[in-house]
């Protein structure tokens, strides 16, 4: 009788190690790369057209402005990607950002000597608490995240307004060291943007390389299957909302450092931009696919459209239209890629057994 072993730990029985010899990477990864490449191309085209029109667009100052301008959106887009990948959505990030930004100002008002790292940690923690409220409500109420976070969007903003009571915090109320964080550069690159880069890199690494990161994709791809394969779906989704909240908190602190002037309306309407960035970046709104790199590129693209349209002296009205067209184009591209992939896969499905 043959002694075949069921364990995967067993040594190869004779099958060639085809994984190593396979030409290129998997189809999915290649298509993802196509998706990110197309964003880079769009970015490149935009830079080219704008620079042709006005060569100051590529001056170091305006590049710096651009990087500074997109950093906060990039951070939020990363958090949103974590959420959307699990087939959820977090609409409360703009409100969390506003609340945390104002709280940071209040912290410096109450205790002017607070070192900025303490403020940073406090802000992130407050954001995480807000995220935990979202996650907890979703877990308990078993209502779609869209509805819950739409509620907390107003709730957090309401708290913010109540707390601020019409008052404004100015740059003068905050320590210089903290404000410098918002504008300082390191080797010519804004610190804010470096922070965003680190966030993207860490989240990208996590999603790609860790079991729990892969489980997030599994949850979004097929929630029932995820449950049946023993993935702690509730816990993961909760954690994702905490992460999104914490990142919104981080973004809130950076917002305070960058702008200095704070009222209760900070970050209003930002959530839609964030979702738009993710969608433009190829994160599937029904979960299961997309990367933080794509979402980050989407955020950069959206920010850049704003500034290049200004350089090109195009009516702000058109800016909205362009963003809308971009979203539709992105969705169309995703659909096209999906169809092509389906066609290729079906062609290959006949296997000679």
């Amino acid at each position: 009788m043959s002694r075949t072993d069921a364990g995967v730990t067993e040594r190869p029985t004779g099958a060639p190690p085809a994984g190593a010899g396979r030409p290129g990477r998997g189809l999915t990864e290649r298509l993802l790369a196509v998706r990110e490449l197309s964003l880079l191309l769009a970015l490149g085209a935009l830079v080219l057209v704008t620079t042709l029109h006005n060569d100051r667009f590529l001056s170091s100052q305006s590049v710096k402005d651009l990087l500074l301008g997109c950093a906060i959106l990039v951070i939020l887009a990363v958090g949103q990607t974590l959420v959307i990948v699990t087939r959820n959505v977090d609409l409360s990030v703009g409100s969390i950002l506003g609340l945390v930004a104002f709280a940071t100002g209040e912290l410096f008002l109450a205790a002017p000597g607070t070192p900025w790292p303490v403020a940073l940690v406090t802000g992130v923690a407050l954001g995480a608490v807000c995220g935990a409220v979202n996650g907890g409500l979703i877990a308990v109420a078993r209502v779609p995240a869209l509805v819950i976070t739409l509620g907390t969007l107003y709730a957090f903003r309401g708290v913010d307004y109540y707390w601020a009571a019409g008052q404004q915090i100015n740059a003068a109320d905050m320590p210089r060291s903290f404000l410098r964080l918002g504008n300082q550069t390191l080797l010519g690159v804004p610190v804010l943007f470096l922070v965003a880069l680190v966030v993207v890199a860490v989240a990208g690494f996590y999603l790609r390389s860790f079991r729990s990161g892969r489980e997030l994709y599994a949850i979004g791809s097929e929630p029932t299957a995820a449950r049946l394969s023993g993935i702690p779906v509730g816990r993961r989704v909760f954690a994702v909302f905490v992460a999104s909240g914490a990142l919104a908190g981080l973004a809130g602190v950076l917002y305070a450092a960058r702008f200095g002037t704070l009222d209760a309306a900070a970050g209003t309407g930002l959530e839609l931009q964030v979702v738009a960035a993710a969608v433009v970046g190829g994160v599937a709104i029904f979960g299961g696919s997309g990367s933080v790199y794509g979402a980050a590129l989407g955020a950069v693209l959206l920010t850049m459209i704003g500034s290049s349209l200004a350089v090109l002296r195009i009516d702000p009205f058109w800016q909205q239209a362009v963003v809308g067209a971009l979203i539709l184009a992105a969705i169309g591209l995703d659909r096209l890629l999906a169809l092509r992939m389906a066609a290729r896969l079906r062609g290959r499905s006949a296997h000679g057994a």
């Binding site: 043959s2 029985t13 998997g26 189809l27 049946l228 299961g288 057994a353």
Partner: protein, 507 residues
Amino acid sequence: MSPDAGESTSSPLLVLDDIAKSFGAVAALRGVRLALHPGEAHALVGENGAGKSTLVKILAGAHAPDAGRLTLAGKPLLLRGPADARAAGIAVIYQEPTLFPDLTVAENIFMGRQPLRSLRRVDTRAMNRAAEQLFARLGVRIDPARPARGLSIADQQLVEIAKALSFDARVLVMDEPTAALSGVEVDRLFGVARSLCERGAAVLFISHRFDEVFDLCQRLTVLRDGTWVSSDRTADLTVDEVVRRMVGRDVDSLFPKQDAVLRDTLLEVRGLTRTGVFSDVTFGVRGGEIVALAGLVGAGRSEVARAVFGVDRYDAGEVRVAGRALPPGKPGKAIAAGLALVPEDRRQQGLVMELSVERNATLARRGALARLGLLLGGAERAEARQWTRRLRVKTARLTAAVGTLSGGNQQKVVLAKWLATHPRVLIIDEPTRGIDVGTKSEVHRLLSELAGEGMAILMISSELPEVLGMADRVLVMHEGRLVRELSRDEADETSVMFAATGQGAIA
């Protein structure tokens, strides 16, 4: 060499005692018991809706039983979720594939258990290699790095099997794993299951095909209407006896097609080609005729059916219905011309899980049922009731969501949906997959009746007895080509299998 794998009388490995489970008012299981012995394969049989899959889900930790006890190796076993069952060494292949379409095949197999390298990172390369080895054991070629989306039903099932094998489980539970597979793959699966048994694992096997059950299993338990009927050694049983216990009456297991007057050719396919999938497929089906498309899984039969119906595109060739050419890639036009396709993958292509049974059953017929553009509930319900009764769909209410029906009953609803359109040409892909003995002969009788009324039927089936019993003509496909046409008299087990495996290909 293995010590008497078949006749071990050791104490049972896993015992279920007095299990009960209800869904609302529906009592799916009452007082069910089961004992799985190490080194043995145990069959679980019963009609559609008897409660087999419910029992499987209890073993998998996916459903908590309302009452009853589980004992594993003499110790009480409490399963709070699927993770607990995994930890206890219970691997489950569910009736409906539970794959993640966006993830790669290898990730699907190893989700949550991926091989790791430094920093606890997932080692994708090692994972793909391990998946490749599992497929090699099963003797199939599936690229581990491709996404699961777009896999054929058979391949999905094979991925599920590979997943279950990768656990190195003490208890392997398989809920109709063979429904989508053809003979060769079933043999390989059984080979693997036997080697697991030799190493002391216990296997629970569910199938509506009795030859498989008697081939693999040493013991057999019958369920009827959620209650336990009997548990015996298969050696002491006959198929007829098992069927009688399942159904509670005698059933003729096969219903041969009645001869019908052959009319004009209704479906004509000429030179149909899709590069890399099938090529130069030419055949015709006449009214009153049942033509079977036989072949191994992956021979391209379903692909031809989908192309004829217009779901998939094709590169060359022509399809004519009653003499009129059908535009390629337009299922709507095909339906209007009187074509109906009962697809292979019912769950994804045939049903809307959230909608009620009656809605689903009349989904393809809404135009005809509407009066002045309004869909009247009454007409819909009457129609649905007629078909669901004819096919013996077991459901508490016609308004219940299709998703809550048992697997076999979902299949019946898809059949009802298309039969209700009264098509002129019916293309039916695996008509009795997952359907129990009692209803199987009913479906056969129905198909024969429809042919008698002048319908042209193209039937794709991997079950030889069904092909031989029902078909007026058998077309055999091998690797994307029609290699043989057999008349009813010529067709027998050897001639069909010969052609299907590519031997003696005479066109």
